[in-house]
Homo-oligomer: 124 residues x 2
Amino acid sequence: MSNSSVVELPVLNQPDGAVAPCCPPLNERPLTAEEAERTAKMFKALGDPIRLRLFSAVASHEGGEACVCDISDVGVSQPTVSHHLKKLKDAGLLSSERRGTWVYYRVEPSVLVAMGQLLTTAAR
Amino acid sequence: MSNSSVVELPVLNQPDGAVAPCCPPLNERPLTAEEAERTAKMFKALGDPIRLRLFSAVASHEGGEACVCDISDVGVSQPTVSHHLKKLKDAGLLSSERRGTWVYYRVEPSVLVAMGQLLTTAAR
DNA sequence: CAAGGATATCGACAAACGTCGAAGCAGAAG
DNA sequence: CTTCTGCTTCGACGTTTGTCGATATCCTTG
């Protein structure tokens, strides 16, 4: 149980391995309730300072992945770090894999791209 | 009191009227605690489905602004709509202006751009 | 198999959040 | 001045969230 298939957030994985953003840019048209529900989970996951630092630490780490031990110096207890990493994982922003003693978290580059597209101003 | 100077989020308004993103792309380097604190407020504001729909409704509305009456059909009471709009305003994502009977909310295009830059994959 | 380090889960608790109805305020219209 | 409409503020309430210490799990090492 490492790379458990990301379900609905924040990109839709295509059968051919490509990714498509789940929703149009925010200024293209009003999001539907369902789109907003899915997308909000993503923003919510990044809406906590500790989680944002953890996410940024993973995203900026060499190879786009980091061991928990590399990034857990954020001023909260170890269980809290674990809790936040789980939330990021549940939101589909990170995946994790155990290698020996350590657990590595990684961010899919496509996630960053898709999230950026959401916020990139549509041609108007 | 309409366009009250946006203080710290999510972009830093330059004296010459230009804007700079408040923080580097999330995968450039780990955010500092202060950067994360500021940026998380922005994400948090978009981390609620109702707020996201309101924001999207304003952002996609003609001219980048909308009257409250144009966008308040999101399934919650009118005071709740007002409460969420206030949160988006406090987060620096929207500004408001009263014109006669109606209050108009608007989103600064630079905000969308700056937020997109946060999430756009840095060259690595 | 025993010991130890790394991470996850559990249970509890205070603080923050989303929601509503009621009441208040500001312009427009009579 | 009074009434009406659009919006905000207030006060209350149940739910969710972030945090911790204690405990459990997984894996390596001796």
